[in-house]
C-alpha cells in the first residue's frame, strides 16, 4: 500500500474564520496551480499517460497479445518495434499503451466505486449519528480488518476475472478510507450554523447532505480520490502479476509477470511496464499532494 495519507483540510474546523475557498474562483486557484511544481509535473505525466491510453487503439491497432516479431528483441534494435518484444514476440510498446488503458480504466472506475460507497456510508453515518452511525462504523471496521488485497483476490476468485469485476472488487475493498474521511468531515460540518440555517429554510435532509455539506467536504475527498486511484492501479497490477487479471486484456501487471523468469537476462521486459506503473502512481500521488495544497487555503497563506 502506499503511504501517502492526505491531510484533511482544516477549513471546516474553524467556525467564525471565513474559510476562503477555491471553487472556480478563477485567478486565485490558477495562481496556486501555477506555483505548484509537483502538481504540474504530476498532472503532465498523468495527462501523457491518459493520452497514450486514449490513442492506444489508433497507434497500435492490432491485438497487443499478437506475436508480431522475434521474441525478446532488445529495445532500440528494431526500428519497427522500438521498445523491443516480449517472450512470445509481442510488441512491448503496444502492450504498454493498451496496458495504460486497462490500468487507468481500473484506477478511475475502482476509485469511483469506492467514492460512491464511501461518500454514502460516511455521509449518512456522520450526518445522522446515533444508531445508524454505530452500525455503519462497525461495517466499515469489518471491511478494514480484512487486508485489501486479500479481499480483492477473494472477490475476483468468486466472480471471475474481468475488468468491471476487478474494478468493482477494488472499489468494494477500499471504500472504508473514504467513508471514514467523509464521516469525520460531516461530523464537524453538521453542527455548523449554515446547516441549521438550511434546515430552518425547509430543505430536505438529502438536500442538506449533498447540496450543503458535501461541497464543503470536497477538498479532502478529491485528494483522497487520487490516492485511491493510484492504489487501485497497484492492486490491479498485483492481481495481473498473480495471473488473476482479465485474461483478455494486456495489463502492466501481466507484462511484468511475463518477464519475471527472464529478469536476469532480458530485464527490460519487466522494467518497462514496471516503470510505467511507477510513473503513473507517482504522478497520481503528486497530483493528490498538489491538490491538497491548492485546495487548502491555509497552506497558501504559508507560501
Amino acid at each position: 500500500m502506499n503511504a501517502h495519507s492526505p491531510r484533511p483540510s482544516a477549513t471546516a474546523a474553524a467556525p467564525g474564520v471565513a474559510p476562503a475557498r477555491k471553487k472556480k474562483t478563477g485567478s486565485r486557484a490558477w495562481r496556486a496551480v501555477r506555483h505548484n511544481l509537483p502538481f504540474l509535473i504530476g498532472a503532465s505525466i498523468l495527462l501523457a499517460v491518459a493520452l497514450i491510453a486514449i490513442c492506444a487503439g489508433v497507434l497500435y491497432p492490432g491485438d497487443p497479445r499478437d506475436m508480431v516479431t522475434l521474441p525478446l528483441s532488445w529495445p532500440l534494435t528494431d526500428n519497427e518495434y522500438p521498445l523491443g518484444s516480449g517472450s512470445l514476440g509481442t510488441d512491448l510498446a503496444s502492450g504498454l499503451a493498451h496496458g495504460a488503458q486497462a490500468s487507468l480504466l481500473v484506477g478511475v472506475s475502482a476509485a469511483s466505486v469506492g467514492l460512491l460507497i464511501g461518500i454514502l456510508v460516511g455521509a449518512i453515518g456522520g450526518y445522522f449519528g446515533g444508531i445508524a452511525d454505530d452500525i455503519l462504523v462497525r461495517i466499515t471496521e469489518l471491511f478494514q480488518t480484512v487486508p485489501t488485497f486479500l479481499l480483492v483476490i477473494v472477490l475476483v476468485a468468486i466472480s471471475g476475472p474481468s475488468l468491471p469485476i476487478i474494478a468493482g472488487a477494488i472499489g468494494v475493498a477500499t471504500w472504508p478510507t473514504v467513508a471514514r474521511l467523509v464521516r469525520a468531515e460531516f461530523r464537524t460540518l453538521r453542527s455548523n450554523d449554515f446547516v441549521l440555517a438550511a434546515r430552518s429554510l425547509g430543505y430536505s435532509t438529502t438536500r442538506i447532505i449533498f447540496g450543503e455539506i458535501l461541497p464543503n467536504a470536497l477538498p479532502p475527498i478529491v485528494v483522497t480520490t487520487s490516492v485511491l486511484a493510484a492504489n487501485a492501479i497497484l492492486t490491479e497490477a498485483g492481481l495481473s502479476f498473480l495471473g488473476m487479471g482479465d485474461p483478455n486484456l494486456v495489463s502492466w501487471g501481466s507484462m511484468i509477470a511475463d518477464g519475471r523468469s527472464l529478469l536476469r537476462t532480458e530485464w527490460f521486459v519487466t522494467a518497462l511496464p514496471g516503470a510505467a506503473i511507477t510513473l503513473t502512481v507517482l504522478s497520481l500521488n503528486l497530483v493528490g499532494d498538489g491538490l491538497n495544497d491548492i485546495l487548502n487555503p491555509r497552506s497558501e497563506s504559508n507560501r
Binding site: T11, P15, G16, A18, P19, A20, R21, K23, T25, G129, N192, D193, F194, L196, A197, A198, R199, S200, L201, G202, Y203, S204, G211, E212, P215, N216, L218
Partner: protein, 332 residues
Amino acid sequence: MKTVPVLEVLDLAIGFPAARAVHGVSFEIHKGEMMALVGESGCGKSLTAFAIMRLLPPGARIQNGQVIFDGTDLATISPRELRRIRGNGISLILQEPMTSLNPVLTVGVQVAEIIRQHQNLSRAAAKARVLELFDLVGITEPHKRYDQYPHNFSGGMRQRVMIAMAVACNPALLIADEPTTALDVTIQAQVMDLLDKLRRELSMAVLLITHDLGVVAQWADRVAVMYAGRIVETAPVQKFFSAPQHPYSMGLLNSSVSNGEGAWHYTNHRLSEIKGSVASAAQATGCSFAPRCRHVIAPCHGGQPKLEAVEKGWLATCCRAQNQEERIHEFA
C-alpha cells in the same frame, strides 16, 4: 387589535432527558407586531424560538403544548408539511452571520435556492427576485454581489444576506435569534432599522430574541420576559419600561446601563445586580425567582404563581404584582 394571531404558543414545554428546560410557555404574536423575548442566558428563550420551528438541538423534545400557526399545530405535523412552512411561512435569522452562510456557495445561489425551493420559479425569475431582495435589504451593487462568496462580505452585509434569505418567500413570521449580538453597535442599529422597515413593508410579525433591553426599548412593540423556562411578565413596551411588575423585570432594568432621564448611571452609582444565578431555579418548589428575589413574602414559597393580568395585555407571574406600591426606583 383583536384579530387571529399569526402565531399562538400554548403551554409549550420543552425538556431534555435529564431536566425540563421550558415549563409551559404561552404567548401570541399578531400581524405586523415585533415582540421581544428577553431573559438571561439559559432561561430558555432560544429554545422556545427553535421549538416553534421544531429545530431543537439533539436530545431536546417538545413534551407538551401546541404551536398554532396558520391553523395547524406545528408541534405535531409531519416533517414534510413542516418543511413547507420552514423558510416559507416562518423563517429564522441566526445570531452568527459569519457562519450561517454556506462558505462554498455564492450568496446569490443560496438565496435563489430558497425561492426555488418554495416557489415554482424559473432560474432567471429567481435571480431577478434575488437582485430585488438584495436591493430591498440594502446590499449595494446587487449584480456584482450575486456571484460573490460569503467570505467577500462583512458581518453586517452577511446579516443582510441572511435577512434577504429569511424574507425571500414573504414569511408571515420572522424569528430573529439575537440577530445583532455579533455585530457592532452602528451596524446593529442599521440591521434593526432594516428589520423594522421590512416588517412594516411586508407586514410580517417578528419574534425578536435578545438580551439587549436597549434594542427592545427602541424597536419592539411588546416584550415577554423569560426566567428559568417561564414567561414571568409580558407587557407593551412603554408600560414595561415605565413600570415593570415582576421583580425580575425590575432587576433586569436596574442592572442595564443607560443614560436616559431618571436612569442610574453607572458612573455615579454602583450598578445593581440580580443576586444568585438562574441555576438555583431548577429545584425550587415555590416561585422560581423566590431564591433571588428582594421582596420575598410567605406566599412566594407556596407554589409557582400563575400569569395574571395586571391590566389588559399586561401579565405578570408575581403574587405581589398588583398591590406593589414601590416601583423601579425604590432600590436607590
